[in-house]
Symmetry: D2
Subunit: 374 residues, 4 copies
């Protein structure tokens, strides 16, 4: 009885934590939204046939492959979803684009901005839709915040402070990983990219930056009994100048002991202010100078059906979305974009942009001066 | 390649908000857990063939029916899931049980405890597994709270305070619904049942109650241009005595302006205390007298992989589960119970128990005296 | 150059924690407010001449006495301030009233309501001004809450929940004190009295109550190596009916491990709601249904100069008053009342009222039925 | 009977908000602490004899003068307390020091660091004790934070974030004041100085800075019907390097709409973390990796008698100090320092240091490069 919608057949490359999260996202998006396509988990690829077969079983894909290029070449597949290690993103994405497929790629799009640009250029030339997984932006309350800012509810925006701090690298004995690779690694690239994406999502383009980067843990175990020197930043900071005239700052840290998800921001305007913490991401705090004297204060707005698309998940306010729900919204936006029903949500060009900002901050930190950001 | 697991074929009766939420739960449970069965959305029933067909399309069921008895009789269906209006729960459940099917029923199990008892008796006699949808109990942090209490981390428990307050009936112009039906309606039955379930989940059986019930809005629009008198409580309260020696209270209100999901509790023991709010249900606050002097305080524990089964949803702490994730956990527990892999989570007997507590509180309020609760 | 104001000469009986706090209050009130009198610390009394002399030195009194009756008889003294143990309040107050002096008495006014009534009657007959130390009521934000309620900013009030919980008696080894005396002792009298005073301050008279009292710690060390049975409540609860039609509850506990000052309330009306915690007593949270859809939420109002008399303490908002500042406000209100410049703030009649409510709740708990409260 | 202690006679210059706050501080310190001196409010000076006489009456000084040099010369006066406008601090302080008096000066010590240095040098040469009013440092919980850091409870400190944001200059129509004077004005000098003082109080010396300063409101009304261009910063930011190896940042803003007292910090170490907000300055939040897995979280420590000198104000925890109480602690520390009973708390040398940091940040912002800070 189902099946009247056209199918959108997905090939997933990579089956780790993020691959699994994407599959949750496909499943939930399918149920929650009235998508223009039926999403089909077509084929999953992993390093070996065995791993892929096992993942297909677990994740619910019809087919499996130990060779990702097979997915790219398969004419039955419409979308390539890349959750493989960063180092492979470029080759995989370019292959998929060359085959005319839409591409969904986990962040970061590529270790270097130049690579990201090449990928974005290719996608534009091929006319395919792309998406990079900046899921915090999919929070209905971030959409609300942006809407409030654009509608002038805060007046003219003057300043911004953004943070993304966690502690998963706080232990000096946690091993050297690809995230510590001098090409594209570091807290600024991994977490600061989120802080920058949120900053530009809310306030528009950043025009100039001054950066500050710090390596806190000089070396980490290499997994082979030795230590390997770390060159990337454990903490990155930047002062910002936005095109709209506001100034601000962001900070990224993966050594912030005790912090699990401190993706926070504060925005101050002439008529009001907002603050938000991803630690309680179903709440947005709003101060308005329009409230009467003696009654003013930051108002805790709880997410609800007034904040689209919350109502598709739950008809009642205050019940709260979870992290995986944000991923479902991300998937839905991409699917709508493929169907031409809305703009590309956070495509490869946006991913490139964030990489450029990260690199500008890193360069500024090295040179200790303000740099323009495109 | 999938399909090696035995199937568990589900027949859903009722396609409103809760029916939809259940389907989200089936889909998510399937993805997130390594369930012992493959869940199959077999048939959905609604009042008419047309509505059912439409729901099958939207919700992803293979078949549809305008007659729920067809599902009960269908030998291909293993589980009957009831999200129809309360008044039908009993007949549907008894039919399903008679047909040897496992039954998953939204709360309240039945308007009256006597009915609930009959349903629980039938299920036990038939040897089928049952579940009532008390989803707040599926929060990993509630499991943590119970574990801490049982392990003595709070010492001997002395007192408890539970609340479930919302504001969806606060408007005097909101219409008379089945929730206002003198048989089984009221805030105590609708919301207080959650507060009572959480109280017994954490501290064990309640032995005595004193009740207080208040009708705040004397009449509501009946949908036909008139007003209908309301006899049920808009606010219900009770003092409690637990078998473990603790005393406590609960309060239920659906006229608590501004509250969307205030399902809160506080537990005080000789060595520590807990407090929790469903408004921020990924946090549990813990005070321990074992902390050193000058360093004591309520500690905000954020849900994470240490709190099973959070880790199946997300490998990183602090990312937060949503309301629909709790429903997925509820589904998974039921499926494991059907497979005989864990105890019945919150079955019909438990549902009956909650109804009895509600009725005891109502009776006590009428008689203005302490009543024993079985 | 000072000294043009008439003097108000104070005789203090009792030099413990509360005596000291009162002296802080006199000193601060003098500085902060432009009082109609110059407050003079005239004489302090304690159990012996030596103790009194030492207290005079420490607290800044001009004279000292080991005999409190000397203060009462001293024609130079205008105000008798009683911070001696509860058992002596009545005799001291009646003596002072008989001598025509204004009386400031720490709470509780007397162990039994009948005594309190006698004291209030005497004061009224003598035409002296009285005050009982219910200092939480002196918070500018409680005045704001009352003003908002009275002005209809919350609409018609429907429900109330009040708590006063601390943990200073949570240790079973803490000794038997006068607070455990069967005549007038218990958590309800000690802390519940505050919860009741706040409830009536905000919503007006309570008309009916149902009580619940629990002795958690059956005996306590008597200081002489033995244990003495405790008959008073460690936890007290009540359901309330207010004259304005609202229903509510209060709870008092001195065994709430981890709680230091949980004097909290929530008020729900047809158009809005308030919640407050003494744990953060410079904040009042306000929800208004008049806010636009999608922008509603509890608003954290920080105390500031808009909330009289905060501005006398500090010209800038958000700087925060402390506990001792509330005592200064209490003193000032009493002094203004003595000067005939405002109503008696919380006089003996009000103190009597609270004792009556406490006793009604205790009686109701014994008899397990609703009782009218005058 | 009192009067056995030696007197410390105070001459106050300046009778505005801060003068009044100081007098509150003297009065409260006298009552709360067992100070080694009796504090005597000897003489107050204002611009005219009339104003001074009126202030003497209001504030409780024995004498008044329209000429501050009279106080400096008066041999009966021991301490000169300066709360006059910043521009006069230097002349007044140098005069007082020359006369051998101890000097208590409101912040900032002087508009320029060079002046502050001259003042500090003079005080050291004269052997008098000095104090600058950095009252937030007097919070018992800041002492606790420092003690925890020094004792290694957080392990090795890695990063710091400090903020001081208010909104009292957010209105573009608020007039040009001495705070906007190019010599010494700006948010960084006014509020950032607090953020810097707290940073060094907790972590020790800052060694290098990069600054960022922004003028948000280009001109303000000059009080004469015109607008005057503003050259100072409305927002100032800095990256920091501490001598202990940690990195960090501070931000100051007086245009942060909605913020009344956001003097906040976060400290991250290898074993734990702290966060604090002056908006709730009776709470300190502490995370310890030593807590067991699944039980970790930021712990809300409420100020109490364990945190000296809270217990002198109140014997019970959780009752909370107010802003004026912090001033009383500041006064007490100064008096103890004068008596030689403890180190100078925050003397002129410390005031100079903060000015130097402010100027280094300003210079760095102009030059856009890292600068060493002495």
């Amino acid at each position: 009885m189902a099946g009247e919608k056209p199918q959108l057949r997905i090939g997933l490359i990579g089956t780790g934590f993020m691959g699994r999260t994407h599959v949750f996202g496909f499943a939930a998006a399918q149920r929650v939204f009235d998508l223009p396509y039926e999403l089909v988990l077509h084929t999953v690829a992993d390093r070996t046939e065995e791993l892929a077969a096992q993942a297909a079983q677990t994740l619910g894909f019809a087919r499996a492959s130990g060779d990702w290029t097979r997915l790219v070449e398969d004419p039955e597949i419409d979308v390539i979803d890349i959750t493989a290690p960063n180092a492979f993103h470029k080759e995989m994405a370019l292959g998929a684009i060359a085959a005319g497929k839409h591409v969904y790629c986990e962040k970061p799009l590529a270790p270097l901005a130049a690579d990201a640009r090449q990928m974005a250029d290719a996608a534009e030339a091929a006319g395919v839709r792309t998406q990079v997984g900046f899921n915090y932006l999919c929070n209905p309350l971030l959409a609300l915040a942006r809407e409030m800012i654009r509608a002038g509810e805060l007046g003219e925006i003057r300043s911004y402070r953004g943070i993304h701090a966690e502690d998963y690298m706080a232990d000096a004995d946690s091993p050297f990983t690809f995230r510590h690779d001098p090409a594209g690694g570091g807290a600024l690239a991994d977490l600061g990219s989120h802080a920058l994406a949120t900053a530009e999502f809310l306030l528009g383009p950043v025009e100039q930056v001054v950066g500050d980067t710090v390596t806190v843990i000089a070396s980490r175990p290499d997994g082979g009994g030795r230590h390997r020197a770390v060159e990337v930043d454990d903490i990155g900071r930047a002062f910002l100048r936005f095109a709209n005239g506001a100034s601000g700052s962001i900070e990224a840290s993966w050594v912030a002991t005790g912090r699990k998800m401190q993706h926070d921001f504060e925005v101050y305007g002439t008529k009001g202010a907002l603050f938000f913490s991803q630690e309680r991401f179903n709440e947005l705090h709003f101060y308005s100078t329009a409230d009467p004297a003696g009654r003013r204060g930051f108002r805790r707005i709880e997410a609800g059906p007034d904040h689209d698309p919350y109502g598709l998940f739950c008809v009642a306010p205050g019940h709260q979305l979870g992290f995986n729900d944000l991923k479902a919204i991300e998937v839905a936006r991409f699917v709508y974009a493929i169907a031409g029903k809305r703009d590309e949500p956070f495509g490869f060009r946006a991913g490139q942009r964030i990489q450029e900002l990260v690199e500008a901050i890193q360069a500024s930190a090295r040179e200790s001066k303000w740099l323009r950001t495109g």
